[in-house]
Amino acid sequence: MHVGRRRALALFLILIFAAVGRVQDARADAFTDALAGFAKDSYSDTIAAVEKVSATGDPRAAAVLRALAEGNLQVRKSDQAIVYTREEGGKTLGTEAASGKELGEIKTDDYDQVRVNNRVRSAVQAALGTFNLVHPDTRQRIDAARALFKNPNAANIPLLLKSLEKETDPAAKAAKELALAASRLMSDKQEERLAGIAHLKTAGDSEVRDLLLRVAGQAEKGSPIHTAATEAVASMDAQLRLARNAEIFFQGLSLGSVLLLAAIGLAITFGVMGVINMAHGEMVMLGAYTTFVVQQIIRTWSPELMEVSVLIAVPLAFLVSGAVGVGLERGVIRHLYGRPIETLLMTWGVSMILQQAVRTAFGPTNREVVSPSWMSGTMEIASGIALTQNRVVIILFGLLVFAIVIFITQKTWFGLQMRAVTQNRAMAASMGIRTGRVDAMTFGLGSGIAGMAGVALAQIDNVSPNLGQGYIVDSFMVVVFGGVGNLLGLLLGSSILGVINKFLEPFAGAVLGKIFVLVAIIVFIQFRPRGLFALKGRAAEA
């Protein structure tokens, strides 16, 4: 949180305190009474207490509710007093809810936690929503409005109307309007309810649809409310269908980007150098584990860098996998040029060793890789079309990596040497190119790119020793489908496969869809043995 925001928050709290300070005494008893409900150890009583506490409008309520949602509200065993706690430097610090008295470090054994489940949590969210509607942080205001939308209550209408007057942020405004419309639905006045439906109709959200259906279900058939709600749902459906297709397309691109990332390193080691690297998946895995290690170090030494940990991991993963690749090439693969099948078998052995090495070093269980906030959640690009942010980032990352590879192979001196060596080794050597070094660098490049892919895949998949195995068949298929040695074909091929797969999935199911795609590739290769974009002509036949 920025300093400015923090200051604004403090100001906000002071203002609230000042505003309600005058009535505090009168309400203090109500607040303390309400707190007693938390001691009863039943979810229904807890919820009743939540409602009572928030109804008091007491400024202390927000802290209590927040603590409750986080599971930090405790009942002192000795006198049933309600205390909320926070963790600081490994200590548990307590504050008495009623008096606001700081208790310092407390012994958790003396307390019973007020138990929370989903039901309590939604009640708390709704209650907190009323407090946070005027919060200085936009994110908080939006969340508050979402909470009120999800727990619509006609009682919130005046509150929402009032906060809307001062709302400047468009996103927060939209969220509040939606919450207002939902709250209106719950009113007992018919015109309010119809107005609510009229506004909700314009939103293409599946949750709105759900709400409208609930309203329609409760209303009498043929009543104006029922008719209006049903019509609204019908008009939304057309839009939702369009949105769904757009989303499927996006999901296909996203799957395509995963395929692209998994395969692009292979396109270099296999496509350019002709090494059948069965340990390619393990290079990806090493990249994923690098991310894990980077995050571990950051967590220990400088947690504030967590948001950019993934960005730090990308070059490191490149270096780690690249170094392993160079080692592999210098150590063994260079002895096997001209014996492609042997490299297949040998790298299979290497892949076994790498897997077991990682299993020994990091344990066989999954490792946790945290997503930074800019890779979490969804972004709504149009009404009803919500894209998950991590997928968007991965698509962009895939394109970036692709562009880098194109740049390196086409525009740099190294790329030129690389192409020279793969096309005519003897000639390149005679021109003074150190072919051995170029081989090692090329293999290192392919492996390093695979490592970078691992950073991205760690965001959506298991980080386990088996990570790489899941991608190896797909990667080879994509490279072959796109056309060996053809990077543009790889880009297009992976996108096509991803999109086809995703459009098939709703009809055929995940498994049959995938089987169909595999069979289609097998058949496709019969007709275009050289992939989508094949080099034609004599050069290709030599």
Binding site: Y337, G338, I522
Partner: protein, 392 residues
């Protein structure tokens, strides 16, 4: 034909290293007697664990022969031979399932347990006939053969060679694995086919039946070995090796390379199917993981370790790798992947001709040419064969 077969049998058994082979065969044939005829208290008693284990390796050796036939002699590296093995296994498994009859958990005389369980009311059409052992045997040959024929016809006709072929065979077995994992396919999904009771009326859980299956596998291995030997020794075999070494030359000599490859591929698939059919009653389970690409790659590794292009090598490789794996997973359970992985790396680096290279046996395998980038792409097939231009 029989004269020729006898001749090749004689050739196989007499010349060169043949006395050793003969001795090994005799020892292998006598092993079950140490289990059957020797009392368990005797130091010479062989637990049936060993019989089952070697019986399993015998089946793997047959699979290795099948792979060597196409890879070692025709140059087709199939990374999907596990599919043919598994299909043969499933065909046998279906017979064994039907043979359970009403002795399953749900006592349904017609439907296997897993179908009862999925609320299936009648037997799917493709399960009919498998109550007949001979029909099942026919399917053991026909199903892998048919798949190999269709797949091979498509692939060889379009002149897909080298790594391209390897990768699409891998895709084939992967697709089949996904398909067989589906419970809706009617092959028992992930659990596969299990709970077998008996084969041809003999209880599978007795020493006698085990010895019988063991001998059947041994006999089949010898028969397959002789068959392969005869094929590679014939003029057809010489054409096949010629295809491996210079495919286009063979074509310009007027041979239909497609047909020759197809012949070898289908024959090899059928042999693999037979191996699978013998394997299933011995291990008692067939599950879709037999279709996994890793299983197929492993089988190729047996051949590479033993010595590609040598029939004896393929058998040796299957025994050596599986023996090492069985032993290491028990005695070095945390390290065996390092050791086995290391062996694969070492073999490719130091023993390009595999174990038979050690013993100085002349392999029929292609000599390893000097690394030269000029022919690299050709060998790889990374610059793929020219597709046949569209006909007018």
């Amino acid at each position: 034909m029989s004269a020729r077969l006898n001749q090749s049998l004689g050739r196989a058994l007499v010349s060169g290293a043949r006395p050793y082979i003969l001795a090994v065969i005799v020892i292998l044939a006598l092993l079950p007697l140490l289990n059957l005829a020797v009392p368990p208290s005797s130091p010479f008693y062989l637990p049936d664990f060993a019989i089952k284990l070697i019986g399993k390796w015998l089946c793997f050796a047959i699979l290795a022969l099948a792979i060597d036939l196409v890879w070692g002699y025709v140059g087709i590296l199939s990374l999907g031979h596990g599919a043919f093995f598994a299909l043969g296994g499933y065909a046998m498994g279906m017979y064994l399932m039907r043979a359970i009859g009403d002795r399953g958990h749900y006592k349904n005389p017609l439907l296997p347990d897993f179908m009862v369980f999925l609320n299936w009311k009648e037997l799917p059409w493709y399960w009919h006939g498998f109550d007949n052992f001979l029909f099942a045997l026919l399917m053991v040959l026909l199903i892998p053969g048919l798949l190999a024929f269709v797949f091979g016809w498509l692939a060889f006709r379009s002149r897909i060679t080298g790594v391209y072929l390897s990768i699409i065979t891998q895709a084939m077995t992967f697709a089949l694995m996904l398909a067989f994992f589906r419970n809706d396919m009617g092959f028992g999904g992930n659990n596969g086919l299990t709970d077998f009771k008996d084969i041809l009326g003999f209880n599978l859980h007795t020493d006698g039946t085990r010895a019988g299956l063991y001998w059947a596998s041994l006999a089949m291995l010898i028969a397959t070995f002789l068959l392969c030997r005869w094929v590679v020794g014939s003029k057809l075999g010489r054409v096949l090796t010629a295809v491996r070494d210079a495919e286009s030359r063979v074509r310009f000599l007027g041979y239909s390379v497609t047909n020759y490859k197809l012949f070898a591929f289908v024959l090899s698939a059928m042999i693999a199917g037979v191996a699978g059919a013998l394997y299933v009653p011995q291990v008692g389970i067939i599950n879709p993981s037999e279709f996994s690409p890793a299983a197929s790659i492993e089988a190729v590794i047996w051949v590479a370790v033993g010595g590609r292009g040598s029939l004896v090598g393929a058998i040796l490789g299957a025994f050596a790798v599986n023996g090492a794996k069985s032993w290491l997973t028990s005695y070095a359970p945390e390290l065996w992947l390092f050791i086995l992985g290391g062996i694969f790396v070492a073999v490719t680096l130091f023993l390009p001709r595999g174990i038979v290279g050690l013993f100085g046996q002349k392999s029929d395998g292609p000599r390893i040419s000097k690394p030269s980038l000029a022919n690299l792409s050709k060998m790889l097939g990374t610059v793929p064969p020219a597709p046949k231009e569209q006909r007018p």
